[in-house]
Symmetry: C2
Subunit: 466 residues, 2 copies
């Protein structure tokens, strides 16, 4: 473990209190790693500030002493954006976990960076409102981290990413100064929108310490439809047909292999008997009978066109939840196969050919690899999962998957896609950033980091090397 | 008029062709001014490039020769963002007016910067889709300009600003390099979202030359409801009640004085006999009878609560259009009074007290000033209009309004509001920027400009002085 000068430890303790400076091995391991694994945590200390002023004081001290800081939320990230492997100070926002200043007219609430996503969702529900950004780690991830990775999830097609729900943002820059950006305004065209830069910056421009989050109307009687389709192109036709007439809140997809595994390993039934190559899960509001009639007419149209072979619709909340599990339980189901995972996107219309190209190159080189596809097809974001063949040593599998990554990212580049649709870049995808961003873009990003963080102490080495 | 070195004029002609370099007085007047007026246009030349490559060549030449460039769209701006008053080169994007690469699955279309807003709206309609950003100058404003000022308008409450419809953006930086940002992706968390910076930058970071714009589902059978309320606080209650149950596409307001003038000067009738202090115009989709039943139940609830005194609902498209004119014709109606105008915002909930404070200070100091309020109350954006009293010389009125501006912006600052909700800063509001943005924010903006435009040739003097 990296050692800090005792005088610095003392100065840090003077800021946050002695019990809020952790240097024991277990704390350093816990706070030095996110859900990415693969890395060895090695922070020099973990700090738990209790106020924005304490965060500022820590950053000023770190700037003065040239100490690197890793801002730390729920550490549920999957690109190692919150990993501290090089003696950094971990600045954990856990204690800034207050919800305050709720306003029903503005439909906003002020959140400390350490507020858990689920805490915000539940708070919204108690007010008769809704926070629509939702994903598997909502029970652990924190708002500050969500903002820093611009978290997406399963409702993006209607509700957008975390970016769309940040009405105000407080950021402590690399010099310890506080920016109070946009202050909850819905309309503000007075100069550059710096808030947008901090969103998705993975802590490299400063520490997100607080946000004013927007809430919205609670959806009415959500219905879920699962359809089976002969191929990906048919899925795209279904998407286009439904979107033309209904405001969908989700349009997810998964493959037959994914469905087989989920049904075999969870306490779930197939949605219908017909076996299809791909399935779409469609969610929409059903405030009255007319909405369902419209959906059923669309379903029949899709069947007539040959785009859909079979389908089922939820008749109750519990049925809707069970249909959702067919999609949501895939990730957990395949964990025992220690899958290689990749989170990529293209424009929506090119997903079918993109999938086919990736499959072709993997099948050609590694015919025994089993590919499990699922994802948010309605927004072009697919999750590629390759299961480790039984008997293949894990190290060998990982080495082969390294090769796969390069092929996949070369295809992503040719399609003008993104090497990270929603998980961010962090350490994990840093070396692949150039497949999605030009040399000039990366140079400009570095220039912008220099403006916010002249000493380069904010989460250094994440996204790019300075 | 500013004179350019003949060798430079020749070099510019070699790039765009001789007939695309205009230096005659009438062209310079036309292209040197936007709808703000007040300024004396004095560009050194007007250039009409026909391709992105030509734009790049012009910018490279300008950077080499240290010549300032003013990017120019429809010049419908109201903050003098497109004014060329200091011998700048006007780079007019008129000829980059092609719509291409429409994709029905992605629901996107590629637009040259010079595409007129209405052209995009009509194109969308022809494809059975909808471009929802709409405002009074849609017949002249260009997409590049809309993006550069992040244009808002009358549907922001549901559809957001121009920012929300830019899926991809091509920007020529101050060094003449081309950034191809986001390429139409719905999900892309691979590094800073530089696209967001260019949106609303008023041409100070580079020239927006092309954008991939998103389109959406066409709204079904829009209904319009006009309600009369006793005061602004009641209007806020009505907003909250309706938003809790219906996805509104507009929530506008206007005062009795505004209504009186519109009815007196346009061929329009009062919506109902009851005279109220304030009126709300509410628009929503009515795909079936249930939607209208819900709206009527909400209306009755509002009447019972004493928030609404009277109301009327459109029974046909033409009735809906006439109700909209009560709000949309205000601006034109009051033009003969050469009104002082200001476009400001606060968080929505504070609008009533904000309006009261502004009225109090104006009434106290200038009791003969007539104030006309209207605006987009659903997003906190109000338009303040003060009519020139008959007999008061225009210069004296302008001087007095200068004082009013300072009072208004001091109130804006105390409310944490914006000195420019949707019109941008340009030259007109530059000196007031500090009422909405901190010294540190302005310093960071300047640092960012330096990264994109190291020579400071892109629309210098707009938003801030470098």
């Amino acid at each position: 473990m990296a050692q800090l000068d005792p005088a610095i430890l003392e100065a840090l303790a003077a800021i946050v209190g002695e019990t809020r400076v952790l240097t024991d091995e277990s704390s350093c391991e816990q706070y030095g790693l996110d859900w990415t694994r693969f890395y060895t945590p090695a922070p020099s200390a973990v700090l738990l500030p209790g106020s924005i002023e304490e965060v500022q004081a820590i950053v000023r001290l770190a700037a003065d002493q040239n100490l690197a800081i890793v801002p730390s939320g729920g550490r549920t990230g999957l690109s190692a954006g919150a990993v501290a492997a090089n003696g950094e100070l971990v600045l954990a926002l856990d204690r800034l976990n207050t919800l305050s200043d709720f306003n029903l007219v503005d439909r906003t609430v002020r959140c400390g960076a350490g507020v858990i996503t689920e805490q915000l969702q539940q708070f919204a529900e108690e007010q008769g409102l809704y926070y629509p950004v939702d994903f598997a780690s909502a029970g652990s991830s924190q708002i500050g981290g969500n903002i820093s990775t611009n978290a997406g999830g399963i409702k993006v097609i209607k509700h957008g990413m975390t970016r769309d729900w940040v009405a105000g943002l407080k950021l402590v820059t690399g010099t310890g100064e506080l920016l109070d950006l946009n202050r909850g305004l819905m309309k503000n065209n007075a100069g550059y929108d710096l808030r947008q830069l901090a969103i998705g910056a993975e802590g490299t421009l400063g520490v997100v310490v607080e946000a004013t989050m927007s809430l919205t109307r609670t959806p009415e009687n959500l219905a879920v439809l699962v359809l089976g389709a002969p191929d990906m192109q048919a899925i795209m036709h279904v998407l286009t047909a439904f979107q033309a007439e209904i405001e969908l809140s989700a349009f997810e997809f998964f493959s037959e292999i994914a469905l087989e595994k989920v049904v075999a390993h969870q306490d779930l039934q197939r949605p219908f008997e017909t076996v299809c190559d791909y399935y779409a899960l469609i969610e929409f509001e059903q405030p009255n009978d007319a909405a369902m009639e419209k959906a059923m007419a669309l379903f029949e149209h899709c069947v007539e066109q040959g785009w859909v072979y079979d389908g089922t619709v939820s008749q109750s909340l519990s049925q809707a939840q069970n249909l959702w599990r067919l999609r949501e339980d895939i990730s957990e189901t395949i964990t025992p196969w220690t899958p290689y995972k990749n989170d990529i996107s293209t424009v929506i219309s090119r997903v079918p050919e993109f999938l086919a190209e990736v499959e072709a190159v993997v099948n050609q080189n590694y015919p025994d690899f089993e590919i499990v596809w699922f994802g948010h097809i309605g927004d072009g974001n697919v999750h590629l999962n390759i299961l480790k063949p039984e008997g293949l040593p894990i190290d060998e599998f990982k080495a082969q998957c390294g090769e796969v990554s390069t092929w996949v990212f070369e295809i992503v580049q040719r399609y003008g896609g993104s090497v990270s649709a929603e998980h961010g870049v962090g350490l994990l995808k840093k070396e692949y950033l150039e497949y999605s961003r030009s040399a000039l873009e990366i140079e400009i990003m570095k220039g912008i980091k220099q403006v916010f963080d002249p000493k380069g102490i904010m989460n250094p080495g994440k996204i790019f090397d300075a």
